[in-house]
Symmetry: C2
Subunit: 137 residues, 2 copies
DNA sequence: TTACAAATCGAAACCATTACGATATGATTA
DNA sequence: TAATCATATCGTAATGGTTTCGATTTGTAA
């Protein structure tokens, strides 16, 4: 998803377009990987002096709710990235730079049969490590 | 792992055996599934009036470090359970009662080939939902 | 350009977890 | 068994990430 698609979705849902919202979207579009609220906050403080936690966290949650961002949780901290918008898939996540690599294979396909009588609400499959770039650096 | 095996391991590592430590182990042995620090705290307060956060969290971390407990993270909270001590495997986790079902299949076996040049540090695969017991209740 | 709902600010509150000085206790040794 | 001492625990304060709130500002529809 790119920035203008995200703004369009934001408007469709009845949210206003503000400079802070645009800058948050641009940040994640450029990031191309997972980022923490803290990292976003630091970036935003540089261009909007005095920006509040409220603004950052509220917008992260809105973006996640309406599908602009996807999120995961690592070491007690939430991470966000632009939504991939394509087929169901999983991610390798670089612990150094946050960049991701899509994993097309979903283990659920092979497992559903072994969970008869269970209600499956969701699943999480993620691989952590270092990407080739960070590995050579 | 049962309580006496856990106590033996604790002693081998040079830790002392206290009534609190034994009661924590018994709690997890009986629980047969994931529990939060809060749930443990509530249980412990009933049998050791005035028990401190320090005691609960410190022992959870010690138990996790030496492999008595395994842990995961859900909604910003850590969950702990007795270590299964057998082959590498994953879990279905019941969101209602915390009970788990082992999933023998590990998706990493099929995926390692697609991550040449990546350093793989770890992975997480978990399935969430309701177990048959909670489903019928 | 007005009007008003929605967004933002600044700061406090919240929740899970960690840390710390003082005291108590398990286990080793005499 | 009693003395010793490192370790465990208590009571409480601090921390880190996140959420919430009243007051003010700002998009946007009329």
């Amino acid at each position: 998803m790119n920035v203008s698609e995200a703004i369009e979705l934001l408007n469709d849902k009845g949210f206003k377009t503000t400079s802070r919202r645009k800058d948050i979207l641009t940040y994640f579009f450029d990031a191309d990987g997972y980022r923490t609220a803290k990292e976003l906050m630091q970036h935003m403080e540089a261009i909007h002096e005095g920006i509040s936690f409220d603004t950052v966290y509220r917008n992260l949650n809105i973006y996640h709710e309406i599908g602009i961002l996807e999120s995961t949780e690592l070491n007690g901290e939430k991470l966000f990235r632009m939504n991939c918008t394509n087929e169901h898939h999983h991610h390798f996540i670089c612990k150094e730079c946050g960049k991701t690599k899509e994993i097309a294979l979903c283990p659920m396909d092979d497992i559903k049969g072994t969970l008869k009588n269970y209600y499956i609400e969701g699943h999480k499959f993620e691989i952590y490590g270092l990407c080739p770039g960070c590995l050579s650096a």
